[in-house]
Symmetry: C2
Amino acid sequence: MSTTTNLAVIPGDGIGPEVTAEALKVLEAAANIEGTASAGLIKFEQTRYDLGAERYLATGEVLPTSVLEEIKGQDAILLGAVGGKPNDPNLPPGILERGLLLKLRFELDHYVNLRPSRLFPGATSPLSPAVLDQGEIDFVVVREGTEGLYVGNGGAMRVGTPHEVATETSMNTAFGVERVVRDAFARAAARPRKKLTLVHKTNVLVNAGSLWWRITQQVAEEFPDVTVDYLHIDAVMIFLATDPARFDVIVTDNIFGDIITDLAAAITGGIGLAASGNINSSREFPSMFEPVHGSAPDIAGQQKADPTAAILSAALLLEHLGRPEAAAAIDAAVLTDLSERGSAPRTTSEVGDAIAARV
Amino acid sequence: MSTTTNLAVIPGDGIGPEVTAEALKVLEAAANIEGTASAGLIKFEQTRYDLGAERYLATGEVLPTSVLEEIKGQDAILLGAVGGKPNDPNLPPGILERGLLLKLRFELDHYVNLRPSRLFPGATSPLSPAVLDQGEIDFVVVREGTEGLYVGNGGAMRVGTPHEVATETSMNTAFGVERVVRDAFARAAARPRKKLTLVHKTNVLVNAGSLWWRITQQVAEEFPDVTVDYLHIDAVMIFLATDPARFDVIVTDNIFGDIITDLAAAITGGIGLAASGNINSSREFPSMFEPVHGSAPDIAGQQKADPTAAILSAALLLEHLGRPEAAAAIDAAVLTDLSERGSAPRTTSEVGDAIAARV
Ligand SMILES: CC(C)[C@H](C(=O)O)[C@@H](O)C(=O)O
Ligand SMILES: CC(C)[C@H](C(=O)O)[C@@H](O)C(=O)O
């Protein structure tokens, strides 16, 4: 038995195409694993979309409506990385981020931005042995993906004058907060430690903070076996640096999640290993899986990029598609590869080959 | 010769009074050092203000107008820490933060929130030797203190219903950004490395980000020997964890500064050592010096708190009052104390005594 999954592939810019090629290689290998009898094999029907800096610079197009509509009809999306050269005068900051990456997250209602952080054996953490000896680092950040400071609700007046005023407004709704908090609780309930930490800045952002706080207390009643904790965003910085093993599931808003997950990636061996899913948990729209890292134009096309984050993102995709065995096979292959990696440099495709062979 | 400085002392709650006592002890010791002939001795005329959780819980008063007016007439302020027990139902989040701490910062126009981060010899960093071997960690964060998400410009509607909407607006003005950016450039120009890193999230917060970016470029022209760099807040997380030696002066907005400085404190040995100044560089109002840490009610009154951050804040106070020799004497005493500290526990006042004796 096999099912067909329509997969949108957006390789993007810089190292995006290179790491995506390896993710697809590993994805195909994992798709050929027999799952449970009821699941069977998966056949991926790929459609490629050449979105990103290159297309924008050549045509002025970021995400044409027709392309967006087509993508909406797919089952899932695999994205490499998007972004041009830093400080390119033809590419103002925000064009691709807001016009493409965030547009996809918002249009496809990716309210769960899922970012697992795990220190794999063999990966090098910048933290000291004394910190690492406190326990295993294995937590998940559930970052809200469709609200907060990311909604583009800002403006400016008297631009360029000494009287300029610029604003950015964080929008938070009970609807938006509740669904992501409930998703985070469900994930916490399914993990051995069953612990959820809400992160905000309730002592300063009293309106949004109060909403997040109250909803977390409410939803907690549905999950009596999950322990709930609260930390201010600044305190989280301290604990991520000094005792990251304390975290299990973190739920937080869009910008705090952005900040936390880069630090989390750094302490677990770098963004070369950090995967993410932009998930529409209600399954109305396709979810999108992408490495946390950017397009790194400085090393593009040189087979220097580590494709592991993209490969782990493919595992998250399989998990989301209801193929936990295939996802676990990738995770296990990455684990073995990492622990045997050593320090000899390998090309991007050598890493992909090695992991695919192990799947 | 001696000059009299009117010093407002706000010991605050929890460990606040204990660490403040030590800071005052060391301040007095340093004040008796002969400075340059023109500076002479300093005589501190102290006035104590019992502001904080205790007063609020007893009287409902946070910062009476008459007290605020009196404080405005002082030359400088030394603050311990403010805050009650966590989750005290009689002390809603934000009451003391917004009514006292932030109120002082805003009313006294403390637009430069100065937070030096330096890994003293003898202090224990949670970072690995490989990271630390890259170079000395010695940077300063200049955090804007009177704008951004801290202005209290938010609101909520349909509170407590499924249709609640809560907002928080970051306010940024050319006036506010320019003065803090100029202050940061001046500090960078006075340091050996002369490097300034602007931190923001220009790719998402395009309005505020563009204002910060343009003003930084403009002010840079006045400081041709300062090298200017830009990083997104998420990228800063990675560099603070993997290569903190790269930073010299960081300038950023209020919330990003809040987040960065706690991580910076963590990697340089913990918030037990992190000092800060809330500075009105134009000297219209008294500046306020306080440790970055909170009131830690769990260890209050037990002589367990480390007063070093409060003592280093007193050094910043002396620096601000134009007494660099006295400030340097405190820094040197702290440095020696730290490098000889070892692991035997000492009481709060033993640490204070040891540092005061060395000044
Ligand atoms: C590129 C940028 C818009 C994006 C974000 O801020 O969400 C990135 O940092 C991320 O974390 O996926
Ligand atoms: C207590 C709180 C309001 C404050 C802030 O957010 O500025 C604190 O975290 C700090 O950094 O001084």
